[in-house]
């Protein structure tokens, strides 16, 4: 199939490293998550940092999404320009960008995240229009957020937000990034259950201090993909599931056939003695994110293939073992497969972390040849 895949990619006009999208699979991924949110009765606020594309955003809208998450104010502006009117900047507020905040909050329902009094006070000093405020809670990831059992800090920040007229307190927000350390769906479930338990604990504390309206927002692809019923929370913000990748598959939050992207890369070198091929497909195309395989070795991707005009099998005997700036070096122990690949072919690489891979490109190409632009 390697030669058929190469020919098909050539027929699309691919000559350089190119992110290839399996659009029907992307639509299935979106529909599945949107439906789960609907059945669970939770608000679907997908994170658009993974795709950063007007067109792919439209596919979400067609599946019912009306609110989104983004990771910068520039990204919020980009999607505001496409008609999105309810956006969360899913990162602690950057008070240095107060002018951009004021531009956005004058036209859309802008949601900001805080976790410190310093930030609340700086926002109070700079805000011109009302914004929605979420209090970030650290439920175990230890990155940002007030620690879930640090009642004093949580209560004082919530009270300050409630006190300032331009800040409308909405609720508590968590990102359980520790789910990415899970290596089984059971471990993902534990992360989710702990997250819900701790978020409800905080909500109860705030209730005791008179905060009666307090939503709970969570968002990471592993928990949102694995948990069947998410009704214990009010809002979900997963992003990666739109494309998925090898990391999600290793965690158990997607099946191999749910990975909806590949990176087409030209083969430039073939080395029979070490059974390696070298592609133009390096750190500037795939990113240096890696996973560790069962032998304890790092890898940056696997060769994948097409089945008709869909993404097909992933060849787990073909790890991208080393990655320099523009080169990827693939170990192919399967001699038959090695013999099929020639210099000048295009091969598809299933990436480790689709968010970081896509961030290195300015556009996508679907398997039907459609070019899809993205923010850059």
């Amino acid at each position: 199939m390697i030669q058929e895949t190469s020919k098909y990619l050539r027929s699309l006009g691919v000559i350089r490293p190119t992110v290839i999208l399996d659009k029907p699979q992307i639509l299935r991924n979106i529909k599945k998550m949107a439906q789960k949110a609907r059945i669970s009765g939770v608000k679907f606020r997908p994170h658009f940092k993974t795709h950063q594309s007007h067109t792919i955003g439209d596919w979400f809208r067609e599946c019912g999404a009306r609110a989104i998450s983004v990771s910068s104010l520039d990204m919020a502006q980009y999607f505001t320009d496409r008609g999105w009117r309810d956006i969360t900047i899913a990162l602690l507020a950057n008070i240095l960008e107060i002018d951009k905040i004021n531009v956005l909050s004058s036209t859309i329902r802008l949601n900001l995240i805080v976790d410190s009094m310093a930030m609340v006070q700086a926002l109070h000093a700079g805000l011109k229009y009302p914004v929605k405020i979420w209090l970030k809670i650290d439920v175990g990831y230890e990155r940002t957020g007030a620690t879930w059992d640090d009642t004093q800090t949580i209560v004082s920040i919530a009270k300050a937000v409630l006190h300032y007229p331009k800040m409308h307190f909405v609720g508590l927000l968590a990102h359980s990034g520790q789910s990415y350390r899970a290596r089984s769906t059971e471990q993902v479930r534990q992360v989710y259950n702990q997250t819900v338990k701790r978020m409800r604990f905080v909500r109860k504390i705030l209730h005791g201090y008179g905060v009666k309206k307090c939503k709970i927002s969570v968002g990471d692809t592993p928990t949102c993909s694995v948990i069947e019923n998410l009704s214990a929370v009010d809002e979900i913000r997963p992003g990666n599931f739109v494309f998925n990748d090898l990391m999600q598959e290793q965690i158990g939050s997607c099946q191999p056939n749910e990975i909806a992207i590949g990176v087409a890369c030209p083969v430039i070198g073939k080395y029979a003695q070490r059974q390696q091929i070298v592609i133009i497909g390096g750190a500037v195309h795939l990113s240096k994110e890696y996973i560790v395989d069962r032998q304890g070795k790092r890898l940056f991707g696997y060769i994948t293939d097409l089945e008709g005009d869909s993404l097909g099998s992933i060849y787990k005997t073909t790890p991208v073992r080393t990655l320099s700036q523009e080169h990827g070096c693939i170990q192919i122990d399967d001699r038959d497969l090695f013999d099929q690949i020639e210099v000048g072919n295009l091969i598809l690489i299933s990436p480790v972390h689709s968010c970081l891979t896509c961030n290195l490109f300015t556009k996508y190409k679907t398997l039907q040849g459609e070019i899809i632009s993205r923010l850059y």
Copy 2:
């Protein structure tokens, strides 16, 4: 100094992650390498993939550079548009881009690299205008190139190149990327000496087969920075030295004060209990390249500072310990330093690998406030 640095960066209008250049230090780095090439009597063909900027390219031209290396045909076109007329695509030729090759070779002196008969024959079939051809030799890095002692392959490829009228054989080219595994200048010297020995061995073999004119081109920043006299080769192609970074400093190929870039990042979170601060400065700003410190721990950067309007000290007690898509989490065990940093500050991060970091941005800003565009 943290507060002074933050104020200075604010005065430059920085509000988002921004690559900051110390232009006088960059000029010193360029002059030093250009002078070494001149004194050694070797051709200086700096690799422009590190900066990918017309303006910074001009600084090289002012220091006497007339030939360059790039890592893609699009990058070659970008620099051709700025008047460069002698360019090596320092990557095995991508025969799928034969049309771009023909456009470039119709106007400039284009140098391509080959290491297989398949590639030579595909070029022969597609070339419209003469190009210079270098034969890539693998001197120990085990990425691309004909293995230095594989005489049969080397001779047959060289003969084929000499046979085809549109290919002008220039010589042998190596990239001793194994120098990046060195952790002392002594180890770098060993890599260089072995490279020279093996390249001369190959040249002698070819001489015996009637190949009388055969240049030797090498190029990696560690060897070119460490070796005082490079006259054993004909051409050098280092790139990273223009900016340097923590990886070069760890190898011993630059001094801390020769690192000429930093990434300005807003502080968005501060966590007294774990003595950590969180910045907007993640994998999409710094890249996931890391080095390992003396304690065996991975790190993605250190806080650095300004001294006047130059880059100053690097605080080695401030490792960026974890990196997610947009967040960097910095461990600051020095309590005094930790206490100086506030949410809303801008801090400078000294990056691990400047090539990959700069690739994530579309422009630079100098410490004098000049905006410098780059290819994207």
